[in-house]
């Protein structure tokens, strides 16, 4: 009985498949199932194709619109010679300093080009709320250098509409894991461990709506990720009426570039969501993961952010507050003096107590 060994795996249990000359089929040693050769070859071909084409081409052609001549006439632009930020605002608003780097000289220019946003989420938090939030943010930060909070120019906080791409999309997932269930019991003088191995497979689809990615190269991605989420219930079709009093940044990162991070986030969430449907295993080792993303719509939106950029000891510190929800984030400097004071302030008394106990 001639048998040819192939490297195909059983689709049901991942056991190796052998070609049996007797039946003319591929046979699994483990679960005993048999398959037509053509079926398995087709399956592998599909998988290869699926793995090759997982980067979707987002359709950004529908994102953003054109400004009318009248709208253009009411727009102004400013450029920051220090960090290169390009800002737009309506003619009733004047920019006095760069919201990103704090540079006090911004150069006005002629408005040109640029897409008109599809959506805008209006500011709900005013400047007073932002100032208050920042003050509160400093409070309770035990390692914050005292002088930092004192020297901070909280009043220079600025409201800015940050450009975002919003991605709609869906993902199809094929995952398989090796799962173990472990049972331990005592038998006589032996500790017995029985480990049962399972092949766990999950497939399915999932959709994502309006995953945001900031479209400004000046804005650190980590800052914009951290002030999420924006509540889309308040999203409005873009209108001039929301601009006065605020600056708006022009997008300078195209949708295709931004989509890379969005793809990664969708992929990670898809894997997590389907992995979460697996329960009852002591260990779960991924064996095969194939996530296929399907393109959806891309929209261009302006989202409200309060920004404060400040310099301290030659380093830039940028704080951002979600202008809709009030969530404030930003990295703060660490006072190492305070750090070690806390370290020894906690450890030394504890050592004294522990030693007293240990030596008695």
């Amino acid at each position: 009985m001639a048998e040819q060994v192939t490297n195909y795996q059983c689709p049901a249990c991942t056991g190796p498949l052998h070609f049996s000359a007797k039946t003319g089929k591929l046979q699994c040693d483990y679960c005993g199932r048999s398959y037509d050769v053509a079926v398995i070859e087709q399956l592998y071909a599909d998988r290869e194709k699926a793995a090759a084409g997982t980067e979707p081409q987002w359709d950004a052609s529908a994102a953003g619109g054109q400004w009318t001549e009248e709208e253009k006439a009411h727009m102004r632009t400013y450029t920051c010679p220090s960090c290169g930020a390009e800002l737009i605002c309506d003619d009733t608003t004047a920019a006095t300093s760069c919201p990103y780097c704090g540079n006090p000289t911004v150069i006005p220019g002629r408005f040109s080009g640029a897409l008109k946003p599809d959506y805008v989420i209006p500011f709900r938090m005013d400047k007073a709320a932002a100032t208050e939030a920042l003050k509160k943010y400093y409070r309770g930060k035990k390692l914050l250098p005292k002088e930092f909070a004192l020297q901070n120019h909280i009043e220079e906080i600025k409201g800015i509409y940050v450009p975002f791409w919003l991605f709609d999309g869906s993902a199809s997932a094929d995952l398989s894991f090796l799962g173990t269930r472990v049972e331990m019991f005592r038998q006589g003088r032996d500790q017995v461990t029985v480990t049962r191995y399972f092949r766990v497979a999950r497939s399915g689809d999932i959709s994502f709506r309006r995953v945001p990615a900031d479209a400004s190269s000046k804005m650190p991605d980590a800052h914009m990720d951290s002030i999420e989420p924006f509540r889309y219930a308040d999203i409005k079709p873009f209108s001039f009426g929301y601009l006065p009093g605020f600056l708006a940044d022009k997008y300078d990162v195209d949708a295709k570039t931004s989509s890379r991070r969005v793809n990664e986030r969708i992929r990670a969430s898809t894997v997590e969501a389907f992995t979460a449907t697996v329960a009852g295993y002591a260990t779960l080792t991924p064996q095969y993961t194939n996530i296929r993303l399907k393109q959806g719509e891309v929209k261009y939106a302006l989202l409200p952010v309060w920004l404060l950029s400040t310099k301290w000891k030659g380093k830039n510190f940028l704080f951002a507050m979600n202008g809709q929800t009030g969530k404030l984030i930003g990295d703060l400097p660490v006072s190492w003096k305070k750090f070690w004071a806390y370290f020894f302030g906690i450890s030394l008394p504890l050592i004294a107590i522990f030693l007293t106990i240990a030596l008695h």
Binding site: C13, T14, C31, K141, K142, L143, L144, G179, Q187, R189, D190, Q191, V192, V194, T195, Y197, F198, R199, V200, A201, R202, S203, G204, D205, I206, S207, F208, R210, P212, A222, D225, S226, E228, P229, E264, R265, I266, A268, S269, E272, A273, F274, T277, L318, D331, P333, V334, F339, Y342, F343, F344, G345, I346, S347, L348, I351, F354, L355, A358, L359
Partner: protein
């Protein structure tokens, strides 16, 4: 059992006859039936053992034989102890290190006040860290000498009211002190790192969970197929004397035996 022990006792009596002469005060503390020591070494050990016995009112004995008649070393040691009338005073207090050379068996048994002075942990430290390593290298005189030294030390600490045990073991004490210093440092470092983390709030998001369209997730295939199983067995080690104290058997002895 008795039948087995009788010839062994005859042998033991013979061995005692061959053994080195009795030293100054009351009885023979070292009985070298297997001939592991020179006469001078035997005399020297005997003298020291007798001194300890007198000083602490607790015998410290050594018995070596070429072979025992079946049985195990522990029982042989108990028999030797009883039949030879070892032990100090009416309580028959004492400690006996017993060796049988044929299969390299050892036993260390205590009786009477010996049970108080030589705790399970004390006996473990005496054997595992001191006597057995020397016996394994056939350095018998040094092993016996170490045995007597430690016995003296244990009896001295016991006389002061605190027999050498789990809590008084300097090695464990060092461990406790090290933990008392390292654990607070660990706690303080953890607290400080948490405080430091509060200073960094701008972090990249790795997932897009909150943008999952509600009810959009469909699981089209969910298979859990059993493949195979493995079984491992591990022998559970004997209960150790971690709690301290001395475990005394029904015959009034405490101790342990094994091979060296």
């Amino acid at each position: 059992m008795k039948r087995k022990i009788l010839p062994f006792l005859l042998f033991l009596a013979f061995a005692v006859l061959l053994a080195c002469p009795v030293s100054a005060a009351g009885g023979n503390r070292v009985t070298d039936g297997a001939g592991l020591l020179t006469q001078a070494q035997c005399d020297e050990l005997n003298r020291r053992a007798a001194e300890i016995s007198q000083k602490y009112r607790c015998d410290v004995d050594i018995v070596t034989v070429n072979e025992m008649d079946g049985g195990d070393a522990y029982e042989a040691a108990e028999s030797a102890y009883r039949e030879n009338g070892l032990g100090y005073g009416s309580e028959k207090s004492g400690l006996l290190l017993f060796l049988s050379m044929e299969d390299r068996d050892y036993a260390l048994v205590a009786y009477g006040y010996g049970n108080t002075a030589f705790t399970d942990h004390g006996k473990d430290v005496m054997l595992d860290d001191n006597v057995l390593p020397l016996l394994r290298k056939d350095r018998y005189y040094e092993a016996f000498s170490r045995y007597l030294d430690l016995s003296g030390e244990y009896l001295e600490t016991a006389r002061a009211g605190k027999p050498f045990d789990v809590g008084s073991d300097p090695k464990r004490k060092t461990g406790a002190v090290a933990a008392a210093v390292l654990v607070p440092f660990g706690i303080a470092l953890a607290v400080c790192l948490i405080l430091k983390r509060q200073m960094k709030t701008a972090v990249l998001q790795r997932t897009a969970d909150r943008y999952i369209d509600r009810d959009s997730m469909h699981v089209t295939r969910a298979q859990d197929v059993f493949l195979y199983q493995t079984v491992t067995r591990i022998r559970i080690p004997e209960e150790s004397s971690r709690g301290g104290g001395t475990t005394i058997n029904r015959g009034g002895f405490s101790g342990r035996s094994g091979k060296f």
